[in-house]
C-alpha cells in the first residue's frame, strides 16, 4: 500500500514557471454582516472565492449571504440553482432575479448550529475584468444545518454589467453577522 508521507514546502515540485493561481486576500468573520474585497486588481483573467461560513444568528433561523459587485445596488442580478436536500425529496431547481442589486449568493445558506458547523462554497467569477461582456459566476456549495434541509447546491449567476469588477461584497441577508469561524479567501487566476 503506497503511503505517501511527504513534504509541505511552498514551491516544492512547482518547477520554475510563473504561478497562474494567486492568493489575493483572506478575510475572516468578525460578526459584521458583510465583508468586502476591495481594489481588486484587473491583472487576472478569472477570480475564485473559497469560503466556509456560519451565521451569528442565535436561533434556528436559516440565512444566506448575497454578493454585490462594485457597490452596485440598482442593477437586477440573476441566479439559478439546483439543490439536493438531505430529506431525499428529489432535486429542486430554482431561478430568480433580485432587484436592489444583491445577487442571491447561490443559496449559500449559512446557519448557526454551533460555530463548529460551517457551510462551504467555491465561487468562480469568470472574465471579471472584461469591459465588453456581462459578468457570470458559477458555484459549488453546501449547507449544514443538522436537519432535513442540509443540502448540496450547484448554482450560477449573472450581473448584467460590462464594468470590470473591482469590489466584491458578501452580505448576510438577515442582517446577522458572519461568525469568527467564517473564512473567505479570494484568488486570481491568470490567463
Amino acid at each position: 500500500m503506497p503511503n505517501i508521507g511527504f513534504w509541505a514546502t511552498a514551491g516544492a515540485g512547482g518547477g520554475a514557471g510563473i504561478p497562474a493561481y494567486e492568493h489575493i486576500a483572506t478575510v475572516y468573520g468578525n460578526s459584521s454582516s458583510s465583508i468586502s474585497f476591495s481594489s481588486i486588481p484587473s491583472t487576472y483573467k478569472h477570480l475564485q472565492i473559497r469560503s466556509v461560513a456560519v451565521s451569528t444568528a442565535s436561533d434556528s433561523q436559516a440565512d444566506w449571504f448575497k454578493i454585490r459587485f462594485n457597490d452596485d445596488s440598482s442593477t437586477t442580478y440573476w441566479s439559478h440553482y439546483t439543490q439536493g436536500y438531505n430529506a431525499g425529496g428529489g432535486l429542486a431547481s430554482y431561478g430568480f432575479s433580485l432587484t436592489g442589486g444583491n445577487l442571491a449568493a447561490f443559496t449559500n445558506t449559512i446557519f448557526n448550529s454551533g460555530t463548529t458547523n460551517v457551510s462551504p462554497s467555491i465561487i468562480d467569477i469568470v472574465d471579471y475584468a472584461s469591459t465588453t461582456k456581462n459578468k457570470t459566476m458559477k458555484c459549488l456549495s453546501g449547507v449544514i444545518r443538522d436537519d432535513a434541509y442540509d443540502r448540496v447546491v450547484i448554482s450560477s449567476g449573472s450581473w448584467p454589467s460590462t464594468a470590470a469588477i473591482n469590489k466584491i461584497s458578501l452580505i448576510v441577508n438577515s442582517g446577522n453577522g458572519f461568525a469568527s469561524t467564517s473564512r473567505f479567501s479570494l484568488y486570481g487566476i491568470k490567463g
Binding site: P2, G11, Y21, T26, T82, L140
Partner: protein, 164 residues
C-alpha cells in the same frame, strides 16, 4: 520570486493495482486541500471511499445529487464511515474522475467540510458535500474502494495545497 499558491504536494501513478493509497504527514501551512483522482478499479464495481486522519468511526455525513442520463437522485445520510462517493463509481475499463476540496483543513475550531465532484462518463455525474465531525486538523487522507476492490494500475492521485 512569485509565491506559489496552488502547490503540488504529492503525485502518484500506480504501477500496479493497490487496495489503498494514503497521503500522510500533510503539512498544515495551507488554507484548503484539493485532491484529484483519475482511474478505475481492477474488477467489480466499487464505491470510492475517503477517510480522514484514519478515523474509522461513523463521523462522516454526506449529501449528494446525481444524474445518470435516465434518473436523478438526491440523498443524504449521517454517520457514514468514511465519505463514500457512490454513484460515479469505479469499474474496469471506465475512467472515473473525482475532485475533492477539503475546506479549511488545518483549522482546529470547526468541523471539516468537503466539496466533491465525481464523474464517470459511462455511468453518472455527482455533486457532493460532506462533513467530517471533527475539529482536528486533517493530517492524512486515505483513499480506498468498497468491497475490498483494488485501484487499477495507471490510476493517478494528486494532492495540492492552496495557500491563504
Amino acid at each position: 520570486m512569485p509565491t506559489q499558491t496552488y502547490v503540488p504536494l504529492a503525485n502518484l501513478t500506480l504501477s500496479s493495482s493497490q487496495t489503498t493509497v494514503t497521503f500522510s504527514s500533510i503539512g498544515q501551512g495551507y488554507g484548503d486541500l484539493v485532491f484529484v483522482f483519475a482511474g478505475s478499479c481492477l474488477s467489480g464495481s466499487a464505491d470510492f471511499y475517503i477517510r480522514l486522519n484514519g478515523d474509522t468511526g461513523g463521523n462522516y455525513d454526506r449529501w449528494f445529487m446525481q444524474g445518470d442520463g435516465a434518473n436523478t437522485e438526491t440523498f443524504g445520510n449521517a454517520g457514514d464511515s468514511p465519505f463514500r462517493v457512490s454513484r460515479a463509481v469505479l469499474a474496469p475499463g471506465e475512467l472515473t474522475n473525482i475532485t475533492m476540496n477539503v475546506m479549511a483543513y488545518s483549522a482546529t475550531d470547526k468541523h471539516k467540510t468537503v466539496l466533491i465532484r465525481g464523474n464517470n462518463a459511462s455511468r453518472s455525474t455527482e455533486a457532493y458535500m460532506g462533513r467530517w465531525g471533527s475539529s482536528a486538523a486533517v493530517n492524512s487522507i486515505t483513499l480506498l474502494l468498497g468491497g475490498g476492490f483494488s485501484f487499477a494500475a495507471g490510476s493517478t492521485f494528486a494532492l495540492y495545497g492552496i495557500a491563504s
